[in-house]
């Protein structure tokens, strides 16, 4: 799942137009688009752009492999909570238009498993759920659900930001994010990391 922090199809453009995945619009919105040919020409001319694109690929890979780990090892509740947090981040906390069917597909479980968990989360006052819409009432509650007690333990760098915490669980680890973001001159990636470190989404033009 990606949103305004990244790009769809850059990897395919660099690989001459072949893509190994389907991309489906999950939440409606708007995007900038560029023709493959033009993008490839620009990428051929700019090593800097290429490096940035490959870094985005790496972030995607980090997300996918962490989902893999999470899908494999963690209970449905934790998977759902993680997924909702990411969706919440990418959509500015708006109400998410999601059927239980779609949600089950997102985290790879049966629809009735989702039903049970969604019902429990609703009863606990963590989400509000009705007719294909999910609202996260307070993301901190979701985090508490994930970590128990007072919520997350501090990240190795001492931060207790919303996502700094999640590196204990199933977002790419701090080290991975920091490594990817290290060369701070690459603006978008640095922004991703800043958002993840202090929980604010950068309002860049």
């Amino acid at each position: 799942m990606l949103g305004r922090d990244s790009v769809v199809g850059a990897g395919a453009a660099l690989a001459d137009g072949i893509s190994p995945m389907d991309a489906v619009v999950l939440f409606p919105g708007a995007a900038s688009v560029i023709e493959f040919g033009v993008f490839r020409a620009v990428a051929t001319a700019s090593a800097r752009l290429r490096k940035l694109m490959v870094r985005h690929e790496q972030v995607m890979l980090a997300h996918v492999q962490q989902s893999l780990l999470c899908n494999t090892l963690h209970p449905v509740e934790a998977r759902l909570a993680r997924w909702l947090l990411r969706a919440h981040d990418l959509s500015d906390g708006q109400i998410l238009p999601l059927t239980q069917e779609a949600l089950a597909q997102m985290i790879g479980v049966r629809r009735n498993a989702i039903s049970l968990v969604a019902h429990a989360l609703q009863r606990a006052g963590i989400i509000r759920y009705s007719r294909g819409q999910i609202e996260i009432i307070d993301p901190k509650d979701v985090l508490r659900l994930l970590f128990g007690g007072e919520g997350p333990s501090p990240a190795p760098d001492g931060s207790r930001g919303v996502t700094g915490a999640r590196c204990d669980l199933c977002v790419p680890t701090c080290t991975q994010r920091r490594c990817i973001a290290r060369a701070g001159q690459l603006v978008s990636i640095a922004n991703v990391s800043r958002r993840e470190d202090d929980g604010t989404y950068p309002r860049t033009a």
Partner: protein
């Protein structure tokens, strides 16, 4: 001009003569001993590995120490694709699953070569996507498919990538490969053995019926194979 035959690695043998010549002077051959850790998550990857024989397993871990394999790299591809143009900080740990040998080249050298050739960069991007395809298929597979199909899929991939039908795999390793508990792997390995698809003893697996395994494996085996063929061309 090429003075010697190319190493038997799919990536290297698919390169044009010019592209290969950019890399050739810097290639060295190393052993891939069983269980060797080539890079750990968070470390800087210094070299790209092009296996001639053997299989490299990419695993991710949780702080608690749980490991799951996310992809495998064999003689058809290379370790280090995304690190060449992207960041060299390893996103996962690379461990030798099936021993063998590989050509290696310093990432800096490969980076310089990639700067000079857009065809080489396209090839690298394709191999990067192939790994990505494998990871995403495994993510779906581990979430949705039973242990028996996952184990079959994994054994088939390991067989394809290594070209060997006798594999040195403990139940512990297999459990990690498919992200299941050791005792469920034990049960499933038993039932595959009873069906005469594999013969298992003391950490050695002999695949005795590939078709049987193919029928037991989930759609993910064929899906990854199709992606590889599409992205990297016929082997």
């Amino acid at each position: 001009m090429e003075s010697m035959a190319r190493p038997s690695n799919g990536f290297l043998s698919a390169l044009s003569a010019d592209d290969y010549e950019l890399i050739r002077p810097h290639l060295r051959t190393v052993d891939l001993p069983h269980g060797a850790v080539l890079v750990e998550t968070g470390e800087t990857l210094m070299r790209a590995y092009f296996p001639h024989r053997g299989v490299i397993s990419l695993v991710v871990e949780l702080a608690k120490g749980e490991h799951v394999q996310v992809a495998m790299i064999g003689r058809g591809s290379l370790l280090g694709t995304l690190a060449i143009e992207g960041d060299a900080c390893a996103l996962n740990t690379a461990i030798v699953l099936v021993p063998g040998a590989a050509s290696v080249v310093d990432l800096d050298r490969l980076r310089m070569a990639a700067d000079q050739s857009s065809a080489l960069r396209t090839q690298l991007a394709r191999h990067g996507l192939a790994v990505y395809a494998q990871v995403q298929q495994t993510a779906g597979c581990n979430a949705a498919h039973p242990v028996e199909s996952r184990l079959s899929r994994c054994l088939l991939h390991t067989h394809d990538m290594s070209g060997e039908s006798r594999l040195l795999l403990t139940q512990e390793t297999m459990a990690q490969m498919i992200g299941a508990r050791r005792n469920s792997v034990s049960l499933v390995a038993n039932s595959l053995q009873q069906a005469n698809f594999i013969h298992y003893s003391r950490g050695h697996i002999q695949i005795t019926n590939l078709d049987g395994l193919r029928q037991t494996a989930c759609e993910c085996y064929a899906a990854v194979k199709a992606q590889y063929d599409r992205l990297l061309g016929p082997p």
